[in-house]
Symmetry: C2
Subunit: 334 residues, 2 copies
């Protein structure tokens, strides 16, 4: 790897052998509802706490991905997962159920592509035959942990986002049929000094810019190489900021080819303010919606740039600004 | 990789080009004080919060490891780090300061070896030239987050452990002089149903057993292959349990070659109850003490089995048992 480079190009092009998306009742009303494998009508997912509901989403997504791959959990070498809960308990308890050797990750909402990047690295380097990468989030568990009790009915500004109740998982393998992971760019932490946790799209947009810039530089690709560049969960506010920043930085990605998972998941619904967020957002949109459209031929090459705001409620309370990151993974048709 | 296997054997034997250990005032009174690069006399590390103190420890450990490697941060391809704080803010804010492309990890006190294993994988697969792996913990930030306000003066049972105020970092590279990372075994989550967060050594011992068993099985090594097998932070209670479990499971590691970082760090000090714990414990003991003894020739081959209790205060309050994990990395003289 060249000095200063931060992109892995996977010579063997690992296969996304299967992928799954599980959602909640609110996701079931959205424009991409048909792209979920399972949609729950009950926000509690049959459990007695929001945290157990979130964990159940993750376990269902993992089970579904393994089943769709035609595998059993015993054949999966490693499970890579992270989530927003303190000490990533959704993932750790999910790993207990799965009993697959487990590497816990934390990249906030960038975890989806952090996991996919590492899964592809392991398969490409023949360090694993099958790797399961997953992540999840739950609207109510996130509100409870990060913000106010929902019973309090606090109002939010239009820059706020709605944490998705969703989970997405993928099985990456050295062989088989499917779309291929061709490269991954690991992001740096970028912090432009923003301190408002109700404007995470604004805070994260510069991190997405930084990673996109690094990706095209490292791979030396023309800016119109991808049919679609999609950010993780910048929402309408962040999408609009990044749409301005890209041309200002001479990154001439055709703006009609730039979308955001945080807008795709709920469409124009004004109830979600700026759009969707949460680890489950980019995971479910990518593994459900985007891969389906790729299989249908809408796009042949996409770059998924999952964004994460690495704050904690405590770092915010102590007056810190929001450190942000983005990891990018390219997925291409054979 | 064979089905059911969970061990990477690194053909190129990546080099631990440098390593560092930073500690606090309590660590300065311990038996391995001379093995730290820096020992702070002030528990606040000159900061105005415990959280910033912890982050500063991490940043110092990283700076010191990079300096000792004769490198600059611009030459490091990736930074792998995690910690115990909610949303691993010590690591994320440290990554903001370092500006090295960052992968956030969470494995509780197993994070030290999770990071070293992934760093070695990246170097071995030529996916990086230099990788920095680090972790940290701080006694007061951990007490604040996980337990009671220290001002409350709550008593603890003899099975409890003392979270280390320490950080350890290592630079792994494809070339150069130094000890070598020869293999790594990624652990499964093991949960024997224990629910007492004041007996994490007891909870984690079966996870260590599981990973040690997998390591020797996957590598097909004789049980006396290593000069030292050292667990991360089982403390006296967990060390004693594992010393009983190993022969019961026909894992005939000579028990005089089995030690625990949680005992090494503070020796016989009764003030720490069962011993040390925290992400910084196995990191500082390994990167400070153990590597020094290896360089001096005391041991030629060691296996570091870092253990982690993957609970959260909330999972405990909700009546869950403690999911545990252990990751093992072998370090050998050339």
């Amino acid at each position: 790897m060249l000095k200063g480079h931060q992109t892995w190009v996977f010579a063997s092009k690992p296969v996304i052998r299967s992928a799954s998306a599980i959602g909640g009742p609110f996701e079931a009303k959205g424009p991409i509802a048909e792209d979920f494998d399972t949609l729950h009508s009950d926000l509690m997912i049959g459990q007695d706490s929001w945290e157990k509901a979130e964990r159940t989403l993750l376990e269902e997504a993992c089970d579904k991905a393994i089943e769709k791959a035609g595998l059993t959990k015993e054949t999966i070498n490693f499970f890579l997962s992270g989530d927003l809960m303190n000490q990533i308990v959704s993932s750790s308890f999910g790993a207990r159920t799965l009993t697959i050797p487990f590497l816990g990750l934390f990249g906030a909402c960038s975890t989806s592509m952090e996991g996919l990047a590492l899964a592809a690295l392991m398969v490409d380097s023949q360090s694993a035959e099958y790797v399961l990468a997953a992540t999840c989030s739950h609207n109510a568990s996130a509100e409870k942990q990060y913000r106010y009790p929902t019973e309090y009915g606090s109002q939010k500004p239009p820059t706020a986002q709605w944490t998705a109740t969703a989970s997405g998982a993928a099985v990456v393998s050295a062989n088989g049929e499917g779309l291929r992971v061709t490269s991954a760019t690991i992001g740096r932490v970028v912090d432009m000094g923003l301190k408002d946790p109700f404007n995470m799209g604004g805070a994260m947009a510069p991190a997405a810019l930084n990673t996109i810039e690094a990706h095209f530089r490292d791979r030396q690709l023309p800016y119109d190489y991808y049919d679609l560049v999609v950010t993780g969960d910048l929402g309408r506010v962040g999408h609009s900021i990044l749409s301005e920043l890209l041309p200002k930085h001479q990154i001439e990605i055709p703006l009609d080819r730039y979308q955001d998972c945080g807008i795709i998941l709920y469409g124009d619904n004004p109830d979600v303010w700026s759009g969707a967020s949460g680890c489950g957002c980019s995971a479910a949109v990518t593994y459900g919606h985007l891969l389906r459209k790729m299989k249908e031929g809408t796009w042949k090459k996409i770059l998924v740039v999952a964004t994460g705001a690495l704050l904690s409620p405590l770092s915010y309370q102590q007056g810190e600004s929001i450190p942000c990151i983005a990891h990018a993974v390219s997925i291409e048709t054979e």
